[in-house]
């Protein structure tokens, strides 16, 4: 079933309404403003949902209930947390480099927001369909390392510096594997643009179509992305027992909330990339040949499919946190450089071979 009103109709209607009132320059500006507000709203809603989800998932994994008292079943817990962080005193340590110290959370947060641009949440609901979508996301998320290094350096605290350096090394290493695992699918699809990748999955998701290399690339992608996010089991740089809080030790109040928000936004972005490239974006789950089943799957709206898959990968990432013990920094880097990277390269070669021979579905 096709939705009665598509998102393209809605955006076209808004555009025509604005063009009726304003001249073209102002139309572009006001559309940019609306889109910015929509993105901020999306990030805020997703952050609140993810904070609540993380607490509840953590609780249920450990056989306990998470937040229960704040609102019905603890649903207002995220709001209480964010409001409290807003109202806390913002400290700057004595010998800290004031400009860098204040700038670091903004850099990390801005980079997270920038990477939201090319994603396609439903057919017609895409902010910016550039022809190098996947490469853009990968490139922009790399800039976040600068923010982390700035935070670690400017805190005037040796543990922050160590934490920042370790984080930087870890993120820079794991970007390689993450990028290479996406490239395996890009080879099979033939285009870097997000829209093309999703459309090429209309007869089946890439994780099923490109069998062996795609499944292996998915596994490598999830591992590498968890490491890029500094989440367990790769959270040595901010683990409590190791380095108090790593690069964000000296931050409190709103600045810490920005790091917090940036981490959840990055989690969301990474899940969206995984959904788009491996799990079919907003494409419903079709099995070639079962037409009745396919029609049934089409009844579920596309953005529900998209967010469902995104939440599935988010749940995977949160599941890892409470399952695996933490890795040491040398084990972490050894895993990447000695195991994941060579295997990813071999995977790309196999993917290219399969594409040339036409052995994918």
């Amino acid at each position: 079933m096709i939705l009665m009103i598509g998102f393209k109709d809605i955006t076209l209607w808004i555009h025509q309404m604005l063009s009726g009132y304003l001249n073209p320059g102002w139309v572009v500006a006001s559309e940019a403003l609306l889109v910015g507000l929509a993105m901020i709203l999306l990030v805020v809603i997703m952050a609140v949902a993810m904070i609540y989800m993380e607490r509840k998932v953590a609780g249920f994994m450990q056989l306990r209930l998470g937040p229960m008292r704040v609102g019905l079943w603890g649903s207002m817990q995220a709001f209480a947390d964010v409001l409290k962080l807003l109202l806390k005193e913002c400290l700057t340590p004595n010998g800290a480099d004031k400009l860098l110290f204040s700038l670091a959370p903004f850099v990390v947060l801005t980079v997270s927001f920038l990477a939201l641009a090319p994603f396609s949440f439903a057919p017609g609901l895409q902010l910016w369909d550039l022809n190098i979508g996947v490469l853009y996301i990968s490139a922009v998320s790399s800039i976040g390392v600068i923010g982390i290094l700035m935070a670690g350096w400017s805190s005037n605290n040796k543990y922050s510096l160590l934490g920042g350096m370790r984080s930087g090394a870890q993120i820079v290493s794991y970007e390689l594997s993450a990028g290479l695992s996406i490239i395996a699918i890009v080879i099979m699809c033939g285009s870097l643009s997000i829209h093309d990748i999703i459309l090429s999955q209309s007869d089946g998701w890439w994780i099923f179509k490109g069998h062996l290399p795609a499944m292996f690339a998915f596994v490598v992608f999830v591992i590498a992305s968890t490491a890029e996010l500094n989440r367990a089991p790769f959270d040595l740089a901010e683990a409590e027992q190791e380095l108090t809080a790593g690069f964000h030790t000296e931050y409190s109040g709103m600045q810490f909330a920005m790091f917090f928000l940036a981490e959840y936004t990055n989690m969301f972005i990474v899940s969206m990339v995984g959904t788009t490239v491996f799990l079919g974006g907003w494409m419903p789950f079709h099995i070639v040949g079962f037409e009745a089943f396919n029609h049934l799957m089409d009844y579920v709206p596309s953005f529900i499919w998209f967010f469902g898959k995104t939440f599935f990968i988010l749940f995977l990432i949160m599941w890892f946190r409470w399952t695996f013990p933490r890795m040491r920094i040398d084990q972490l880097l050894k895993l990447e450089w000695k195991y994941l990277l060579p295997l990813s390269i071999i995977n790309i070669v196999i993917a290219a071979f399969i594409t040339i021979m036409g052995w994918h579905f």
Partner: protein, 183 residues
């Protein structure tokens, strides 16, 4: 019997009230919102010295579970923690460390003295040469939880008492400037 909103009038601790019992309408509402947020999202600092720390860990884990109240995120750095639960004996060697941690915490900060060693020196009050006789000689304490060690349920009640105390306090204390007559 516990500390609730009703019997807070007879609460023996310090409760901030307005000057003439009156308040600006806006400030009261913001106070309520700020106090609601602060009391429901108290992040404790992981600070446990001895046996009371075991009870604190037990209160944090699955059976008693203080994360139901919002206390889950226990930050290891004092900059991001709101609450320091002093759980365990404080010796004279540890006292400057505790004072430094308390100073590093960001306002608004709260202190819970858990167990008899932190209230008054506990079983070490008369005979010991090195135990600080009560942690309130070093840092200001909001809630005292007696026990040696207090059960996890007692710790949870102490934390709920702190939540009730925060809800009754003034979030923003604005000192009115002294006029010439008041000097």
């Amino acid at each position: 019997m516990g500390v609730t909103e009703d019997n807070l009038n007879t609460f023996p601790g310090e409760v901030y009230r307005d000057d003439a019992g009156q308040a600006n309408f806006f400030v009261t509402s913001i106070d309520k919102l700020a106090n609601w947020a602060r009391s429901n999202s108290l992040w404790p600092l992981t600070f446990g010295t001895s046996c009371c720390a075991i009870e604190m860990m037990s209160a944090a884990s699955a059976k008693y579970d203080w994360s139901r109240f919002g206390f889950e995120v226990a930050r290891a750095t004092p900059r991001q923690a709101d609450l320091i639960i002093v759980a365990g004996t404080i010796c004279t060697k540890m006292a400057p460390v505790l004072k430094r941690l308390y100073n590093q915490m960001a306002n608004p900060k709260y202190v819970i003295a858990m167990g008899s060693c932190t209230i008054s020196g506990g079983p070490f009050y008369y005979y010991s040469y090195s135990v600080v006789k009560g942690v309130d000689t070093i840092i200001p304490v909001d809630v005292y939880i007696p026990g040696c060690p207090p059960r996890p349920e007692a710790l949870l009640e102490g934390m709920m008492a702190l939540q009730a105390k925060i809800k009754k306090s003034r979030a923003y204390v604005i000192d009115s400037p002294k006029t010439k007559q008041e000097e």
